[in-house]
């Protein structure tokens, strides 16, 4: 029997065998799911009371509240500035635009600790501009803005590029001003992408650690974020308490994750 007959007889070539699926699932389970399960399960190692007191301690609550608050602010800023920057990158033309476009991915490529250091250089005690916001809540916001910069931009850009220009021309021919065209025709079609990018940015912001380490001062009840609080708990040899708070953070992130997916489906409901 020729190999051709063999190939045609069994599953067609190109359709992956059990191998691909099996290996993937195994890898994912051992590397990702197992450790995650450990966090969730072992957070209750000390019983429900310990769990509850860990997540309701004043310091924990303060850290969580601050984290969610500053992440929300960072996300909102990103929605506005990100959409604006995406607009400029798609619709405007100037020398050096492709360089600027490439730089948008810098926060993805740069280690977070280095990001923190660079912000500290310009906005900390040794700032040549004389701006010193180190160890303030604003510093944390700055760090988050840095690391979440690309999300909304890269989410909106492709949608803007694919936008049917004829829709805009149709609106113009019907008498709409530029502002009206933007508000009623362009923006509504960007909203799903904006929200998708915002969700990614928020999920990243609540868990951010490296860029905040140097610049925030980690002051409890002031500039301490949840990830730093968890870190301190681990250092203080309280991994179970750390796990409890991690579970809260995890649930928040997973909520966002599934939110994005639902959003994606909802946003595409008018497409065809």
């Amino acid at each position: 029997m020729t190999t051709a007959a063999l190939s045609l007889r069994g599953r067609p070539a190109g359709r992956p065998g059990v191998l691909a699926l099996g290996v993937s699932t195994l890898w994912l389970s051992v590397i990702v799911l197992l450790p995650l399960a450990a966090v969730v399960v072992r957070s209750t190692d000390g019983g429900w009371d310990t769990f509850w007191s860990a997540i309701s301690s004043r310091q924990a609550v303060a850290a969580l509240r601050f984290t969610i608050g500053v992440s929300l602010v960072a996300t909102l800023v990103n929605v506005v500035t990100g959409t604006l920057i995406a607009w400029v990158l798609v619709r405007d033309h100037f020398r050096g635009k492709s360089l600027v476009n490439a730089l948008i991915d810098l926060p993805f490529a740069l280690p977070t600790i280095v990001a923190g250091l660079t912000l500290l250089a310009l906005y900390g005690p040794t700032s040549p501009l004389g701006i010193d916001v180190a160890y303030t809540q604003f510093a944390v916001l700055l760090a988050l803005l840095f690391v979440t910069l690309p999300f909304v931009i890269r989410s909106v850009q492709p949608v803007l590029m694919e936008l049917d220009r004829e829709m805009e021309e149709a609106a113009l021919s019907l008498g709409a001003s530029n502002g009206t065209v933007f508000r009623r025709v362009i923006l509504p079609n960007l909203v799903p992408a904006m929200l998708g990018g915002a969700a990614l940015a928020f999920a990243r912001a609540v868990g951010e650690f490296g860029s905040i380490v140097l610049i925030s001062g980690n002051i409890p009840f002031d500039t301490q974020v949840a990830s730093m609080f968890i870190f301190k708990q681990i250092e203080s040899d309280n991994p179970i308490g750390a796990a409890a708070i991690s579970v809260v953070l995890l649930m928040l992130s997973l909520l966002i994750l599934f939110g994005i997916r639902a959003l994606g489906r909802w946003g595409a409901r008018h497409d065809r």
């Binding site: 049917d164 004829e166 829709m167 021309e169 149709a170 609106a171 113009l172 021919s173 019907l174 008498g175 709409a176 001003s177 009206t180 009623r184 025709v185 509504p188 079609n189 008018h270 497409d271 065809r272």
Partner: protein, 331 residues
Amino acid sequence: MIAVRDVRKSFGEFVALDDVSLEIPDGSLTSLLGPSGSGKSTLLRIIAGLEQPDTGTVVIHGDDATRVPPQRRGIGFVFQHYAAFKHMTVRDNVAFGMKIRKQPKDRITARVDELLEVVGLSGYQKRYPNQLSGGQRQRMALARALAVEPRVLLLDEPFGALDAKVRAELREWLRRLHDEVHVTTVLVTHDQEEAMAISDHIAVMDHGRIEQVGAPRELYDRPANRFVMGFLGPVSQVGEQLVRPHDIEISLAPGEGARQAEVTRVVHLGFEVRVELLLEASDGEARGDEPAGRGRGSVSAQITRHEAEQLELVEGGVVWVRTTGRTAVPA
């Protein structure tokens, strides 16, 4: 009336429109007909204000509209790919122009319902464009353009994205609509059958120039040049002349001005019969090439089934061929 005068437009090196002038009478349905790259869409978009000419003027109803933005020209524009506002319902799409003019709500609702009735989409108010077929979307686009009572309706290959059958239906429907509504309409198309079927006037364009303007029949019977003749219908070359295949007479006996020919092929296409003929050389004249490149001296004639039966044509038979001279352009 719309008057385009001495318009030139280039895109970089490419000259899209080369000194184009055209007058479009009020209330007429005029087609801009031509192959791709002829400049017809560019001309339409310049009339709309979606493009600016390099030189020349556009006058709409006596006002110089050359530098007026599209919002203020009082035009309606229909795009080949519908340009539907996909995030709005059919009702909101059609109402868009009126809403931004801040017209009262009940007036808007009434007019939208009326228009949807006219275009045959009653009951579709709450649907979204992605729930409509191509033909339905285009009708919605028409209703949308008409909602603001434009002085001029411009359509850019409006049926190009539709199936042949839908295209034929919508084209007739557009003509009937025009007859009712009487808005000056300019239609861009590359389909000569479409242009011929519904237009009052046709402007035939090629390579950025207007080759001829006139009523369909006039263009078909009295084309100004080879290009127009060839674009609007089939062409056969007999001797030094280009004629319509159906203007070639075949008879079994020689007559005045007739030339001898051999029948090479007889094809029955329903009602019409196409007869391929090989013309005998006469007076040692050089044979020109058939426009259709069918080879030297071969000619395609079109006769009716009845005529074919009467002649009892067979392949290889000898016949005499004459042109009726109704439409003839020097080759």
